[in-house]
């Protein structure tokens, strides 16, 4: 009898130990994942900050007035400090990062000194511009190096924890580093505001406006269904599901979707006026049969069929077998950057795969345009003399404070980079200097 009780007690004890062990194991894993995430975050943040830093230095090279330069240099200073922080969060015994750290403090010193100086009285000297150019070059190299490491980490699922654990076996105090790291990473993000995400002109309006310019009568669900059927190009209305948006929506919409024959579709349509705000059709796109240029004509025809007139293409990009086109509304000859529309075309047969017009319907109106006070030549004088200007036109864009301003827009080249520069046509202020993105080299996977 006593034996059986002993056996039972032992069995329970073994079972309990097992459960306890399993829970410990789960807990350990959860903490491992969390710590790993902290490292991953610092690492990817670092890479992103270096990307941004490189771009910002490049943009500085094409700037001219102190109203632009000083805040720009201050922003560079801030970015170096963030990047420096990111470096500090990483267990970096295995990777050559001291180069990066030295470089970051160099550039931090330089940008701090120039940012607090009165550039009106004491403009950048030739030597300093040369210095900037070399910083630009180096930051490009470091960025490329980092991107390579980042690619490897993502491709091969490398764990910073493995690096960390290797160190921890030699050092019993390593556990504290994890917690400290967690807290410090948290802190680095606080209190800073990123300049701009820099999504170049896609979603050109950064300030979100109300949809004040939607026109037309409210439509009912039946009408919406009919419209959706036409835009989706499906035969049976019964294949389409439709719902109305909830209380949280900024503008009331009908959302329609269908899934049939390997095609999926999703669309938002405003209740007021029944305008399509966003449309996605997903299907497999085979080899490209038509060119980016032919796709553009399809996109143009499509906009006409939606009764969007005076739309001008300003950017086209081919991603594999899909063409993405950015159109802007033009009033007279003046480009309206806030009124943008994107169209996605399948380059196998020219089908429309997507359409989004949220920016357009948020901003579009006929505007009262003032006469420019500055001639093109006068505005040109405001642009950095090192930039070779190739194209110019009038454009309305949104400046940093979110106001629409009439500007002279210049496309120019400096070194190997192309810049878009906006000079206010009324007071000559340098409203925005933007470095345009070029293609990025593919990574060699054979490593």
């Amino acid at each position: 009898m006593i034996r059986w009780i002993l056996v039972a007690v032992l069995a329970v004890a073994v079972g309990a130990t097992g459960i306890w062990g399993y829970q410990e194991h789960q807990e350990k894993n959860a903490i491992l994942v969390q710590a790993e995430n902290t490292y991953q975050r610092s690492f990817h943040d670092l890479s992103y900050h270096m990307d941004l830093l490189h771009d910002q230095i490049g943009t500085t090279l094409a700037m001219n007035t102190k109203e632009r330069l000083s805040p720009q240099l201050a922003d560079i200073w801030r970015l170096t400090s963030e990047a420096h922080n990111d470096v500090g969060q990483l267990p970096l015994a295995l990777l050559p990062f001291n180069k990066t750290e030295e470089f970051l403090s160099d550039i931090g010193d330089f940008s701090y000194n120039t940012a607090i100086r009165d550039l009106e009285k004491d403009p950048l000297t030739d030597g300093e511009v040369n210095n900037l150019e070399s910083l630009y070059e180096t930051s490009g190299e470091i960025r490329d190096e980092l991107r390579k490491v980042q690619h490897l980490v993502l491709e091969n699922n490398l764990r910073w924890m493995d690096v960390q654990l290797a160190l921890a076996t030699n050092d019993k105090q390593a556990d504290n580093t994890i917690i400290d790291g967690f807290e410090t990473v948290e802190k680095t993000v606080e209190g800073y505001s990123e300049g701009n995400l820099g999504i170049s002109m896609t979603g050109t309006s950064n300030k979100k406006h109300e949809y004040q310019f939607l026109t037309g009568e409210n439509i009912n669900e039946k009408q919406a269904l009919k419209k959706a059927q036409k835009l989706f190009e499906v035969e049976n209305v019964s294949d389409i599901k439709i719902t109305k948006s909830g209380d949280g929506a900024k503008v009331a919409t009908y959302s329609a979707s269908f899934h049939k024959d390997g095609r999926d579709g999703y669309m938002d349509m405003s209740v007021k006026g029944g305008h399509p705000l966003s449309l996605i059709i997903n299907r497999e796109v085979k080899d490209s049969g038509i060119s980016l240029n032919e796709g553009m004509q399809k996109a143009e025809d499509y906009l006409k069929s939606l009764e969007m007139e005076d739309m001008e293409l300003f950017q086209s990009s081919q991603y594999n077998n899909v063409g993405v086109y950015n159109f802007l509304y033009t009033q007279g000859d003046v480009r309206m950057y806030p009124d943008s529309v994107q169209v996605k075309v399948a380059l196998d047969n020219g089908d429309i795969l997507g359409f989004t017009s949220r920016d357009y319907y948020m901003n579009h109106q006929e505007r009262d345009l003032p006469e420019p006070e500055l001639t093109v030549e006068e505005a040109k004088d405001k642009v950095n003399q090192n930039v070779k200007i190739q194209e110019n036109r009038l454009a309305v864009m949104e400046n940093d404070s979110g106001e629409e301003v009439l500007t002279h827009e210049f496309l120019g080249v400096l070194g190997n980079d192309t810049y878009r520069i906006f000079i206010n046509a009324l007071n000559g202020a340098e409203e925005k200097v933007e470095k345009l993105q070029d293609a990025e080299a593919k990574f060699d996977d054979a490593v």
């Binding site: 800073y192 060119s291 997507g354 080249v413 192309t418």
Partner: protein
């Protein structure tokens, strides 16, 4: 007068002779496909366009098969110098002029691209001097494995060595987002994936969230896929496409910054957010 004529004759004779060695190389004339090539395009035609422009000295960038700004300005300069309409697009007239004025050694260019070497394609310089040696340790192995049966330019066409990326994002940013989207929404319809990607971007822009893509993704307790490690599953192609769509401006959520699965949501707080809509299993809210 007569002197002048002889000079002109001589000039032509020299020109002819100079043209000879190139012409008798028995090289088939490689020409563009009939498409109009414009900014943003990528592929074989762009490789040829860049090579031909470089042959004439207009283009000094890398021959990578993507029509970027460098190619654009080179093409415009070419059109200017040769008296064509300056529109920065390679239409039939421009391509004709270009084919006449330049040479394109397709075999050479494609071979270098396949081998992953750094090279240029300037006219008047021997080809051997235009390939950078010793810069292909990794690519060399690859060539030995796959390259043997496609020697001499005849085999599969060379792929562009670069890709278009939306402004402000790198391929790695896109991959990281694709990882997150795949971990969070791999069972969802396509629009549900775009929606999750759009929420990440909306958070980056929102003042109450971190300002980087990685900051948003790795924010503690923000995404379950990050907390339980599902983010490290290899994303499929549809996740990557969804991310590209979101970056290019598609937002099926109507500017949502939160979403949750009503069946598994553990916090009551999330139900108090003003809801916008449901896509697939997720409810999106402000």
């Amino acid at each position: 007068m007569r002197f002048k004529r002889t000079v002109i004759l001589l000039f032509f004779a020299v020109l002819l002779m100079a043209g000879m060695p190139a012409a008798d190389g028995l090289r088939p004339v490689e020409a563009f496909s009939p498409q109009v090539i414009q900014h943003g395009a990528s592929g074989e035609d762009v490789i040829e366009l860049q090579a031909r422009l470089q042959y004439l000295g207009f283009y000094n960038g890398k021959i990578d098969g993507v029509f970027g700004w460098g190619t654009y300005w080179a093409l415009r300069n070419f059109q200017y110098e040769f008296g064509l309409d300056i529109d920065g697009m390679a239409g039939s007239k421009t391509k004709q002029k270009l084919e006449k004025a330049s040479e394109y050694d397709k075999g050479f260019v494609q071979e270098q691209i396949r081998k992953g070497k750094k090279f240029t394609h300037y006219g008047g310089t021997p080809k051997e001097q235009q390939v950078k040696q010793g810069d292909n340790q990794q690519a060399g192995n690859k060539e030995n494995q796959g390259g043997e049966n496609q020697q001499e330019g005849g085999g599969t066409p060379a792929e562009p060595t670069a890709v278009n990326v939306p402004g402000g994002f790198s391929q790695n940013d896109i991959r990281l987002m694709a990882n997150a989207v795949h971990g969070e929404a791999r069972g969802e319809p396509y629009e549900g994936k775009v929606a999750v990607a759009a929420v990440i971007l909306n958070r980056v822009e929102s003042p109450t969230f971190p300002n980087t893509v990685s900051g948003v993704i790795f924010e503690p307790r923000a995404f379950t896929a990050v907390a339980d490690g599902q983010i490290w599953l290899t994303p499929n192609e549809s996740a990557e496409q969804a991310v590209l769509d979101a970056i290019n401006g598609w937002d099926p959520t109507g500017e949502a910054t939160y979403y949750f699965n009503p069946n598994t949501a553990t916090s009551d707080w999330i139900w108090s957010r003003p809801q916008i809509k449901q896509i697939g299993k997720h409810i999106f809210c402000m």
